[in-house]
Amino acid sequence: MKTLSLALRNLLRNRRRSLTTLLAMVIGLVAILIFGGYRSNITYGSQTGFVQGTGHLQIQHKDYFLDGSDNPTAYGIADYQHIIDVVKHDPILAPMLTVVTPILQLGGLAGNFAAGVSRSVIASGVVVEERNQMLSWNDYKLTSYAHQLPLVGTSQDAVVVGTGVARKLRLCNALKVPNCVQAPTVASTDGNQAPDDITALSALAKTDAPPVDDTRIEMLAATAHGAPNVASLSVVQAENMGVKALDDVYLAMHLAQAQKLIYGAAPPQVTAIQIQLQHTNQIPVARKRLEQLLANEFKTEPLEVLDFRQLNPMYGQTVEFMDSMFGFISILIGVIVLFTIGNTMSTAVVERTVEIGTLRAIGLRRSGIRRLFLCEGVLLGVIGAVIGLLCSLAIAYLINHSGMAWTPPGYSYAYLILVRVWQDMNLLVGSVIGLILVTVVSAWWPANRAANMMIVDALRHV
């Protein structure tokens, strides 16, 4: 015996109390796992979104991220293709890579001058096929909200805009954007018309453009030499970008078009080289290697490597927020479980005082008594963990198949409420081990008290 057998029988002896204690543990574990699963879905979802958008790592001109995002000309990377080739062919990096692609980000003014409207946009010039490959990264097998960029096989002047941009530029009807409430077209353009010089530039840009249709816009940007330049662009689609602030300024175009707009006939540059890895946990190794390469082979270039957490501070804030909530809830539940089990075990010790005295008298050591009560606590913990785990998986399944959705603050469409319990082994194993540890800790004090009882006092107990 069988300490385990004796402990199990003692638990079954007072079934109601054992069940009540188990119930507290099960509810506690379910709460932790379901909330933890929800947190995991949000943090992994958030990570997936950022990695799809910016890659795991970026090589940028030093200080571009801090000071140069509005100045692609001063912070461009001229020798980008050489850097990409070196990265792709590096024996250490190559097995980890999924995509290495250049990107040129620029700010500008997009105008539908025919409708008399314009708005500032943040545009990205991308290699479309590589961009789409980045958007398919889904290492955590999540429900992905990323759409492929519909610029494959399009002409160089084709662009995609956010639905917010489409709305502002009164393109909703032309682009057949669903649920897009568009203000009526202003009849007179007096006072809203583009300045004469812009109109003239626009006219120049249109000379090589296909016939005018109702999805054409013009984009004005400053060239590398500080002169204004205009491109006539064809909007092929408006896409909801999820976050309203982004949706209202988003514009994606072919890299060559963006480079032509900024650099004209000068050698083209990019503002970053995006590097997407197979797995996020490869970042430290990949980053170290990239920094070595930059220091050895491109020492004259003022370049730096940034990871997606640095590029998207919101990710860290989201993770921190969710972790703090999860930690708070876990501690709260842990304390409740701790006291519930502690109370159960203490009551058992009092009720079984004479038994403790008898066992000690017939030769069981103090450590044997301690082991017996700890074993009861661990058994409660293990049974509670198993039942709690099964309940959590069942509840997670129901939630994941319920179709419930919500729109997070600042987002422009609803997300499915999903919980990742089974898929998040760290959460699952951590919670189960945590629960069992809590039971051991809570059983320790009563077990110790039982072990240290004076035998004669225990035998006299009424």
Binding site: M1, K2, L6, R9, N10, L12, R13, V354, E355, G357, T358, L359, R360, A361, I362, G363, L364, R365, R366, S367, G368, M454, I455, V456, L459
Partner: protein
């Protein structure tokens, strides 16, 4: 050689900062293969004396030798092991483990001595047979009468084949008929197993059966009666 020797043993309890002497200057020898009864009025110290002999309490002074071992100097763990191997206990309230059946209750002390399973089984079955409970092996204490429970307790006390069994008022919770049967059983087992039984008891039936009778009052032994020999004064 006497299985138990006490030399100038004293025990004092500290109750609410007051020292209460329970045993004073006890000198005693308990003979082998005897029924020894400790008698005395309530509060005289007979249970304390039994507890010291049973190594479940420690004396404040003096020396206690059991089977030649000076038990006062043993550590807690060593004392536990000593009790497991050399002493048996029978309690007034039987003190069987309620979650174990009769077989398992008798087997439990043998588990503490790491006895091999086959030998353990053989011994438990023999003891069950000896106390007349072979057909009750699978019954838990709640399914047994008082007399049957005490029979299981006797079998448990003898399971490790100790040379000394201590019994605290073993018939106090039994009717006189059952009590007499239990005394007879203990006497039979004592003779068959060549073991010393030390009782604390008020029961005249127990006292009548005793080979040696020790009388105690106010923490002091007033007389030791060796019935097979002459009546002796306190040692």
């Amino acid at each position: 050689m006497y299985p138990v020797v006490l030399k100038q043993v004293g025990k004092t309890y500290h109750l609410d900062s007051v020292d209460v002497p329970a045993l004073i200057d006890i000198n005693l020898e308990i003979r082998s293969n005897c029924f020894t009864v400790i008698s005395g009025p309530s509060g005289s110290g007979k249970t304390t004396l039994l507890n010291l002999i049973g190594c479940i309490d420690r004396a404040n002074q003096g020396e206690i030798l059991i089977a030649g071992k000076e038990v006062q100097k043993m550590s807690n763990d060593a004392l536990s092991d000593f009790r497991a191997r050399h002493l048996g206990f029978i309690f007034q309230n039987f003190n069987l483990l309620p979650v174990l059946n009769a077989y398992e209750n008798i087997e439990y002390p043998l588990l503490l001595t790491q006895m091999p399973a086959a030998e353990r089984k053989q011994r438990v079955l023999a003891l069950l047979d000896a106390v007349g409970l072979s057909d009750r092996a699978q019954n838990r204490p709640g399914q047994l009468s008082g007399g049957q429970r005490q029979r299981v307790a006797i079998a448990r006390a003898l399971a490790t084949e100790p040379k000394l069994v201590l019994a605290d008022e073993p018939t106090a919770n039994l009717d006189s008929h059952t009590g007499a049967a239990i005394i007879a059983l203990m006497r039979k087992m004592q003779r068959e197993h060549h073991v010393s039984f030390v009782f604390s008891s008020h029961d005249p039936q127990v006292q009548a059966e005793a080979d040696d009778a020790i009388f105690i009052r106010d923490g002091r032994i007033t007389s030791v009666e060796r019935r097979s020999e002459n009546v002796e004064a306190a040692v």
